[in-house]
């Protein structure tokens, strides 16, 4: 299922303002790549380029290429790209007018799947994967506002997983959650990497160190350094990495 994602010389713009400068990196399959860096470093813009969400903002554009399994994502229909590259956002954003079940089923229905048993099967599987099933199996047809924020975020993960993407992007998924819910998401990321290529944006360095197989540091729109967390956190090659990690800026 998971496939590695290769980014070549990616630059991104909002109007005349350049946000990202020639970023090249590889996010290997079945591994967790964490993206760290201060606010405004371009982390979110970077991941939004991976599922071609960046270009839906007025005046936004990008240069460079993103490859998934030897396919240039920018030569595909963006709708197809987003079904291969799933995304979970900073704040939980379940569809407020839909039930728990219908939230998870939304992507399947968009894919034209009408068979009820296939849909319920896939909904259950996705909720199992996001370890939410036991908590919601008796309230599948209840409105989503009865869930806690942590549950809502795991629901959004289930919603993204239901259409079986190859890559799962999580953009600071725990930043608006309490510590316990945050830890649950982290555990979930560990479990999911056997199935998916995972890209996790976080500003929590401990979290990045714990779950990552590969870590990349972004500063002012540039990829400063990447490597295994052990390397990057203990023996940074770049002076700026060291400054950031020791809290001299950011």
């Amino acid at each position: 299922m998971g496939k590695s994602l290769v980014v070549e010389s990616l630059s991104a713009f909002y109007g005349k303002q350049q946000i990202l400068y020639h970023v090249s990196m590889t996010m290997p399959e079945h591994q967790v790549t964490t993206i760290i860096g201060p606010s405004g470093a371009g982390k979110s813009t970077f991941v939004r380029c991976l599922n071609r969400l960046h270009e839906t903002t007025p005046n936004a554009r990008m240069e460079g290429s993103v490859w998934l399994d030897h396919q240039n994502l920018y030569e595909l229909d963006p709708i197809i790209v987003r079904r291969k590259v799933g995304m979970v956002f900073q704040a939980p954003n379940p569809f407020p007018t839909r039930t728990v079940f219908e939230n998870v089923a939304a992507g399947l229905r968009l894919n034209g799947i009408r068979n009820k048993s296939i849909i319920s099967e896939q909904v259950e599987k996705s909720l199992q994967l996001s370890s939410l099933w036991d908590e919601v199996k008796n309230s599948l047809h209840q409105p989503v506002w009865n869930l806690t924020r942590g549950q809502q975020q795991r629901l959004c993960i289930a919603r993204a997983l239901a259409i079986e993407p190859s890559v799962l992007i999580l953009d600071e998924p725990a930043s608006t959650l309490d510590p316990l819910s945050s830890l649950k998401i982290e555990e979930l990321v560990e479990e999911l990497k056997s199935h998916y290529t995972i890209v996790l944006v976080t500003h929590n360095l401990q979290q990045a160190a714990r779950v990552a197989d590969l870590t990349a540091l972004f500063l002012d729109g540039e990829l400063v350094e990447q490597g295994s967390p052990a390397e990057l956190f203990t023996r940074p090659k770049d002076k700026r990495t060291e400054d950031y990690l020791t809290g001299r800026f950011g």
């Binding site: 839906t56 197809i80 954003n93 569809f95 407020p96 939304a106 409105p143 959004c156 993204a160 259409i163």
Partner: protein, 308 residues
């Protein structure tokens, strides 16, 4: 001493404001009581048969308001359907598919439309819309949809359909403007959520944008409907001013507000005048009832959806 004076000025100010508020309530009460006393003769003479009576003929002292109630509701309903479909559609186009430059131009034009006095709409209706309906629109409807009783009848040009179309056009700017604001307020992260699942823009509108804003749009639609019920001038120019109840939308009719505007000055007997007062009273009650009902509806729906 200084403190004391400040305190006194506060009381004076609050007292004055209170007086204004009381005056406003009094004014409402006076208005209602004048309407009731003015229509008393008619109320005692006809009882509830005033509302169910189908004949309005002042020469024979026959006063039944049903044709006006019918005309009011049918013309407003036509306007409602037309303006909702076109208005919400336009708002979706402007917010979801529009280019920023054109959206700005469209907004300026729409604001200008809202500022046009209703008599101008009425005149345009009379000189442009009605001839078009008589020569092109209604004959076409009759040949295509003549099997439906609404579109089968003698063609006049003026009539319920003309009034409904004018009302629809007049309701459009409000519905577009309010819907556009509501659609603009749909949180971006919800929309991104739908797009990230691989939704097209159309699918996103159906999945997220419309469900999120439907209660507010319902409110805008009901508000416009309330105003259409009371519109007098534009309606009176194109509805045909005939107190009849007909299934065909091509036939002339009349509305509560329109008959008031038309006949008040020529009411020659006390009973005639009193009956017109009662028409006014009915219009007032219908408007208040409708306003309250729509508020209740919005309140209930929004309570259920926890939105807005």
């Amino acid at each position: 001493m200084n403190n004391m004076r400040k305190h006194d000025s506060d009381r004076l100010f609050a007292g004055t404001l209170f007086l204004f508020a009381v005056l406003l309530i009094l004014l409402g009460l006076i208005m209602v009581s004048v309407m009731i006393s003015g229509s008393w003769k008619s109320i005692t003479a006809f009882d509830f048969s005033f509302l169910s009576g189908q004949i309005w003929n002042p020469l024979r002292h026959s006063y039944g308001a049903l044709p006006f109630l019918y005309g009011t509701f049918v013309s407003s309903l036509i306007g409602l359907i037309l303006s909702t479909v076109v208005g919400v559609g336009t708002a979706i186009l402007l917010t979801q598919f529009g280019h920023i430059k054109y959206v700005k131009i469209a907004t300026i034009l729409l604001d200008a439309l809202a500022a046009i006095p209703s008599v101008v709409y009425g005149l345009w209706g009379l000189f442009v819309l009605v001839p078009w309906l008589r020569n092109t629109g209604e004959p076409l409807l009759k040949t295509e949809l003549g099997a439906i009783p609404f579109f089968n009848g003698q063609i006049w040009g003026v009539g319920l359909l003309a009034a409904g179309l004018i009302l629809g056009i007049m309701m459009l700017p409000t519905i577009i403007t309010v819907s556009r604001k509501l659609l603009d307020n749909v949180p971006q992260d919800l929309q991104d959520g739908a797009i990230a699942l691989g939704a097209t823009r159309t699918e996103k509108v159906r999945m997220v944008v419309l469900p999120y804003s439907r209660v507010g749009i319902l409110g805008a639609v009901l508000l416009s409907f309330g105003r259409a019920l009371g519109e007098a001038i534009a309606v009176t120019l194109v509805i045909g001013n005939s107190p009849t109840i007909s299934t065909s939308l091509f036939e002339p009719g009349d509305s509560l507000a329109s008959v008031l505007a038309n006949q008040f000055l020529e009411a020659s007997t006390h009973l005639y005048l009193s009956s017109l007062y009662e028409i006014g009273l009915v219009l007032l009650i219908v408007a208040v009832l409708f306003h309250t009902a729509s508020k209740l509806l919005i309140w209930r729906v929004s309570g259920r959806a926890r939105i807005l």
